[in-house]
Symmetry: C2
Subunit: 548 residues, 2 copies
């Protein structure tokens, strides 16, 4: 048995690492795993930042992406936008300091939220090519160009070659070189990412020049900015003891009572009185900074005993029914489409979310493969396309759960059908930092199912109608074919002119045919209502919505 070694020896090499160092060694956590995915991640991060910045600045986004191959597994990516630019003094913190950003602490729905995306790209460029990122930015007041890298040991920006340029330049251009990446025109590649981003952002124009020099333009189909999500106060039912305590300890309110009213939505003075009656141990006049864990825990428990108005839903920004309509027409140009926006719901008691769904059939919907046409599921979270990790995503679960045969679809994966689902929330529960899948929470899956089934009913009507119309049309045509012969025979027997008889007969058949179609449409509508009622039962208890 070897000698025992003591603790001082074992712990002598103790070191603390920077977050940059951590992500350098765990870059798969940021989406940098696999060559195709890594390139898509770079484009995703820059385009997401551009869209967010344009929308914050109230500018209709014009974004141009260019990808060039430099060598085997080595590409350059350039992303330019017409956004507000980044002031030079903070550019290093925004794009080369991991965990730095404007968005981390705000309770507002946005695409990026972690303060990692842009800095992650800078880091990834550095560790795969040793290169700095090149920036060109103009805010209207000033403009500059520079090179930007990151000091991994300290997680601090390294800015070089800073030059002022003519301040007429407005917007942001980022150019970077990346190794261990690959451009591929698959479902996981840059083209598909941008096509789907265009689908969910009909107000944006997005252009791509691919490594072969081919240009693709997704031109905006609406010219209005989406409604800006409002930063909202959290709902009492959506927070933990730890959250409450953190809010309390950083509060400027003098008393617990005013702190509660100021901090939470739906928490009125009347509610404070209700809570006061429930939590007798807590002095509601004390300084919130002095609140203890036990007191906060009791408050959070008491929240569950009070009846609340549902969360404020202004914090949610959807694509919108009209916008989805325009964008699907624009990009998929289908024979048929059906769109649903559900009312907002809450999950985990207090976090609002909303599901939108669209189904497109025919045209460019679905996907052509060697084995024929396939159905395609297009997933979004807060309008950002999710291209990876589909197998663990709530959207995939929900869509797989649906019995497509009910809706006239034989096999989902054998039809020219595209199903689009967007889940919007201030807090989307991703199943990993890669943010490519929504975690499979029952309340979210149910809402997605209801949304997609609602669209599917529209499709069912269409498919059923198609089938009936084709049967009716064939009957109609058959009858019409005999009308001429019949009229001639009747004319001989009766002496009435053939043309007269033929006109009368045709009018009679047309009118009967129209009545028949109308009756069938009515019967279908009734069936629909019944099916809808049954399906709502099928998915179990949807979360109760108090203000319904």
């Amino acid at each position: 048995m070897p000698n025992v070694i003591d603790a001082d020896t074992i712990f002598k090499e103790l070191k603390t690492n920077s977050i940059s160092e951590f992500f350098r060694k765990n870059s798969q956590m940021l989406g940098y795993s696999g060559k195709v995915r890594s390139l898509t991640t770079v484009v995703h991060e820059y385009v997401t930042n551009s869209l967010d910045a344009c929308e914050e600045a109230n500018i209709l986004p014009d974004i141009a992406v260019e990808v060039k191959q430099l060598a085997e597994s080595k590409y350059s990516v350039s992303v330019s936008d017409n956004g507000p630019g980044i002031p030079s003094k903070i550019m290093g913190r925004v794009l080369a300091t991991v965990l730095s950003g404007t968005k981390f602490h705000r309770y507002v729905q946005q695409r990026g939220q972690q303060g990692i995306g842009g800095s992650g790209c800078t880091l990834f460029s550095l560790i795969t090519t040793g290169k700095a990122i090149h920036i060109k930015s103009g805010t209207g007041k000033a403009a500059y160009e520079c090179d930007l890298s990151i000091d991994i040991k300290s997680n601090k920006p390294l800015i070089t070659n800073m030059v002022d340029i003519d301040k007429s330049f407005k917007g942001l251009v980022i150019y970077g070189e990346f190794g261990e990446v690959k451009y591929e025109s698959s479902d996981h590649g840059v083209y598909e990412y941008l096509r789907r981003t265009a689908l969910s952002n009909p107000h944006a124009t997005i252009r791509l020049i691919d490594p072969e020099g081919k240009a693709y333009n997704f031109i905006r189909s609406v010219v209005e900015l989406p409604t800006k999500p409002k930063p909202s106060k959290p709902h009492p039912l959506g927070i933990s003891t730890n959250d409450l305590l953190e809010f309390a300890h950083s509060s400027d309110s003098r008393k617990v009572s005013s702190f509660l009213v100021d901090t939470f939505s739906r928490l009125s003075q009347n509610k404070v009185e209700e809570l006061r009656a429930l939590v007798k141990e807590l002095d509601f006049d004390k300084d919130p900074k002095k609140m203890t864990w036990e007191e906060a825990e009791k408050l959070v428990n008491s929240f569950k005993q009070v009846k609340w108005i549902s969360p404020d839903l202004d914090s949610l920004s959807t694509i919108g029914e009209a916008q989805i309509n325009a964008t699907i027409k624009n990009i998929l140009n289908p024979q048929f489409m059906s769109i649903t926006e559900r009312r907002p719901k809450v999950f985990r008691g207090g976090i609002p979310f909303v599901v939108e769904s669209g189904i497109a059939y025919g045209g460019n919907a679905g996907k052509s493969t060697e084995n024929g046409t396939q159905g395609v599921l297009i997933r979004f979270a807060n309008k950002v396309p999710l291209l990876f990790d589909g197998s663990v995503c709530a959207i995939t679960s929900a869509v797989n759960d649906i019995q497509w045969k009910r809706y006239g679809i034989k096999e989902f994966d054998q039809e020219p059908i595209s199903v689009l689902v967007n889940v919007s929330s201030v807090y989307v529960p991703y199943s990993g930092v890669g943010k490519q899948a929504i975690s499979q929470e029952a309340e979210i899956i149910e809402e997605i199912k209801l949304a997609v089934m609602d669209c599917a009913r529209g499709l069912q009507r269409y498919m059923h109608g198609q089938k009936n119309r084709s049967i009716q049309a064939s009957k109609y045509n058959t009858i019409m074919r005999y009308v001429s012969q019949l009229s001639e025979n009747l004319s001989e027997i009766t002496g009435v002119k053939k043309d007269e008889i033929e006109a009368n007969l045709k009018a009679l058949i047309d009118s009967r045919y129209k009545k028949l179609l109308a009756a069938e449409a009515e019967a279908e509508a009734k069936m629909d209502e019944k099916a809808e009622a049954e399906e709502e039962e099928d998915v179990g208890d949807a979360p109760a919505d108090e203000d319904e």
Copy 2:
């Protein structure tokens, strides 16, 4: 259209966050998602630290875990060990500073490596119960108790109630309280985690007292410490340009040539000369601190053109065939078992790894459920049980790929069978930070398949033998039943005594029967060899092993 907002306004709220704050908001990245998993994660982190510390100190681990329920979804966990303890002056950095640790920068195979585990538990206790962790530690020279928490904003430890205690106390006791957790006796729970940890650590004694007060003891089945993995130098084929440059810039060597020899395994002076001939642009006498990215990139490319001896394999620590044998007997007590340790291989060109596998059949192998017996796959990475995310793990893929019918197993999930696989490497490529699944790299999957198929052949022999033995035994018994009658008849005809005839006949039958069994065994062995050859082909090109 709303007014355009400028960049200064948009970026005015810029903030940088601590890594603790980041993980507070993304605790699922550390394994804290779902109540059962969260509790298992806590136990896993503490037990892993205890095992690593005991082994580093050359102590046979004695670890006791106690879980108590405090309230709905609230439990306490206490883990005590007989390890080296933690010196008081660094305890805060080890257990309450995220990304701090001894292990991060060493090239050695260990269970924990990120400097996150223990601090993650402290953070999780704080955010779910507001409580500090209680520590009791003795190093032999000194002993103390204290409470320990973490200042999330600064990622710094908060130590309170520090008292010296009698220095006769040796080892470490950690007590913590955790919310949003649940004890469950499922495959994902603490009991199963510890049972599997005992399976892969036969030198450790592990005890558990569950929330109902029931005690379980997994007593060590071997009294030798596993061979300590040696910190090894990286192999030239396993590193990236960025790695090489980082090594070069922190090197104390005077010249690039000596830096290369000092830093990498298998890189002799002769190899330096080979490289010198390949990379003419690089001055091998220059200071490695001044190496540029381009030079490093050329060096890394030249590495691929040189023939290397395979990586040093002393860095790998396996469970060991004899140890797996002892521990499976001890814990599963099966009717049959078969164990394989493959030779070490490399993946991604230069990272060594080794696969061990065991199959147990009958006894406590498999799992009894309402629907009968089921096969069980027991996954390990560096001897740590992997209980979650099985669906995305290389081990699961490999085992699902195997055609079990070939080996006399009807359906893997309908037999009393346990398959154990351990993958050991200095660098296990996990598919996430949760470290519950090995990423599905082709070279690793192939090795796992070969290991499990090798065990499966052992099982096949046994199953086949069982079947044959039962057929032969029934024939033998049938014949023997007639021997007595036959002997009596022959005795009447020949006048020879019945006993004599019966003894002769029995001896004759026995000897024929033995020969028959031997011939069948030989035929089976030949079949085996053939099957083995075929299977090696089946899995495609296994990575070439240069020193074979």
